[in-house]
Amino acid sequence: MIGSRAFDEIWGHGSPDNPRAEFSALSSWMQSTESEEFERRLQSAEATFRQLGITFAVYGDKEASERIIPFDLVPRIFLADEWRRLSEGLIQRVRAINAFLNDIYGKREILKAGILPPELIFRNPQFRTEVAGIRPPHQVWAHICGIDLVRTGPDDFFVLEDNARTPSGVSYMLENREAMLRLCPELFREFRVAAVDSYPDMLHGTMRSVAPVGREADPVCVVLTPGHFNSAYYEHSYLADSMGIELVEPADLLVDDDVVYMRTIGGYVRVDVIYRRIDDDFLDPLVFRPDSMLGVPGIMAAYRAGNVTLINSPGNGIADDKAIYSYMPEIVRFYTGEEARLPNVETHRCREPDALGYVLDNMHELVVKLVDGSGGYGMLVGPASTREEIADFRKAVEAEPERYIAQPTLALSTVPTFTQSGIAPRHVDFRPFILTGKGKPQVVPGGLTRVALKEGSLVVNSSQGGGTKDSFVLLDDGAPVQRQSQSQGGEA
């Protein structure tokens, strides 16, 4: 049983009565709060989420076309010191990702140095020749990165996956915090928690800093959504709203003479920076999929001409591809000259015969993934699968080994979570968000903690029964904040 030997982030390897010293306050809060009270607060949170329309659509699920993601009240907490070390690792990794993209669509030094097998790039469907040779402003390609992390011990963090295309989930980070401030204000008196609500300003600042040459003074920034039937529409509208910029749909945009305009009541207004939440494939029917009804014809020509900045840049998929992932330690070393501060999870590339043999022999112990799968689909968790499931998956891997990688089943850390049978440990992962503009990458002090609500389950995806938690980053590890009060007496 995996759960029994996992590290719990609050209880450590102890028990509810013997938590990690820094978290004794949280542990007593959990013990002193009645489960009826938890239930009541959870219902209140759910009602709010539904009324606000914080929903996501589950593809292929006709019954509930708009669902809310279950929310848990027990926060996950990072100590200030843990967070500092994590941030350094994240910044290093994101710098390497941007340098890699700039290189692979430019001089390709990394191939000349023999670090990566060239066919891994040139035969990769994520490699977009359409953007080769482009120099985006300040050489930034991945302006918004979400790096998925897992933890196995106090100081043991691993990168599970990089997301350099259109990482989602940041609205949950912000809304979960709003819910916690409203429902559990007592925790914020107990802990000094770094605020996350500056994220929209940071994002807007990042967008403005990468405006096209000549448009830096007062660039017009917009969020581009596929439309209000998209599963992440709430997030798109939330971000546009909190930045105070327009949320546009493809039909609102028009490209003329390589310049992008939006249709407004006063006529056409030039657009300079687009945070697009449409995948590369659908972005421009003239360049990518011609059958795309979502795209903006000509937008790629405008991008190539340097008249508009796209966030994130098209072509980024080559950096977060699961086949490239296994080379990330080498990539970090090549571009930063340092060892990766955040290690990868050990990865077996089934494209290599030795690794394939090992994977086929040990499937019952491994997590096997499609290199181009996502959202928990196309994945086998060996220890949690039946003989038949393993046999079926084995056939698939044998047929096309180059499409698969395998990783050991990690003892993912747990965080106490409210369940039907009281507070119990549940496995979590973590997605922090890193913004890169003109200057140094910035890490938002928080992120999205996803939790597998089923006992023992390691699958945290919202489409597969996962939930979310707020993620506290503590400002320092000292005493609780004193509440301020009006000073008495006469000191001026």
């Binding site: 539904r50 009324q51 606000l52 329309g53 439309g227 209000h228 529409y233 709430y234 509208s237 939330y238 546009a240 709203d241 327009e246 949320l247 546009v248 749909e249 039909a251 609102d252 939006m262 249709r263 407004t264 009541i265 006063g266 006529g267 207004v269």
Partner: protein
Amino acid sequence: MAVMLSRTASSLYWLGRYTERADFIARLIEATVRLDALSARPAGDDAWRSALIVTYNEDAFAETGESFTQENVSRFMTVDSAHPGSIIECLRMARNNARAVRTALTREAWTAINRAWLQFQSMGEPGGNTATLNLVELVKAEMRGFEGALHRMMKNEATWFIRLGGAIERADNTARLIDVKYHLLLPEGEQVGGIVDRDQWTTILQTVSAVTAYRWLYREGLNPGAVIELLMTRPELPRSLAACVDECVEVLAMLGKRTGLQGEADRMARARLARMQKTRAHEVIVAGLHEYLQAFIRENAMLDAAIARQFRFV
């Protein structure tokens, strides 16, 4: 100059139209239920038939092949999602428009619309009169909540577009209401201004929440000519044609001030207001009320088209 996407402006305008329409249908059903229940001589089929005619839905109902009963018609007008003129469909369209312009609405305004839609989703058949009235009460309460939220929104172009849609829709609804009811209620051979069933006139006033207003303004008791005058030319009554015509001019002026965009729609709206101010109800009745109202509805539709051109609705 303020910048707003054309699509956003169009969605806000239609959000205003659909919420107003949902509210109007709810009031019409409420008044019809009362008419059906309270009349000494049961109004029955005719009352429900006229409710369908007012909302231009007589043919659509006939196509369902269902019989003309209170249950069938009220279900058709409230929860029938196959029918674009039902309350639930108006709410769905209002919500779709609101969802597409989330960024232009406050949380309060969005929540009111979303909640109305969520509540209606869980409603079954309206059944008898009591159940229908409960349903109608719910719509009215949510629409009041939306109006309240609207008044607390920033006084910017988003608010003005919603109000403009509301004013255009209200003008259309009131004109149809007078037109249909007036002619249905006028018995064959009866002179205009003659004595007709007072309950039926009360129905009209109730639909536009004007029963009390009428009593304050006209002490002499129910008189069809006075009802027509109240609904047409009295600017004190928020749902009168005069009030709607006035609101269109006012809201277009606010939009002009915010956006710098003025044109054909402003000119049409101002010309209509100038004519309305000279209009006397009794003269219209003599000259032909039906012709007047049909022309009003046509002109209102032309103003709608001019607004769409002026603000480049997609």
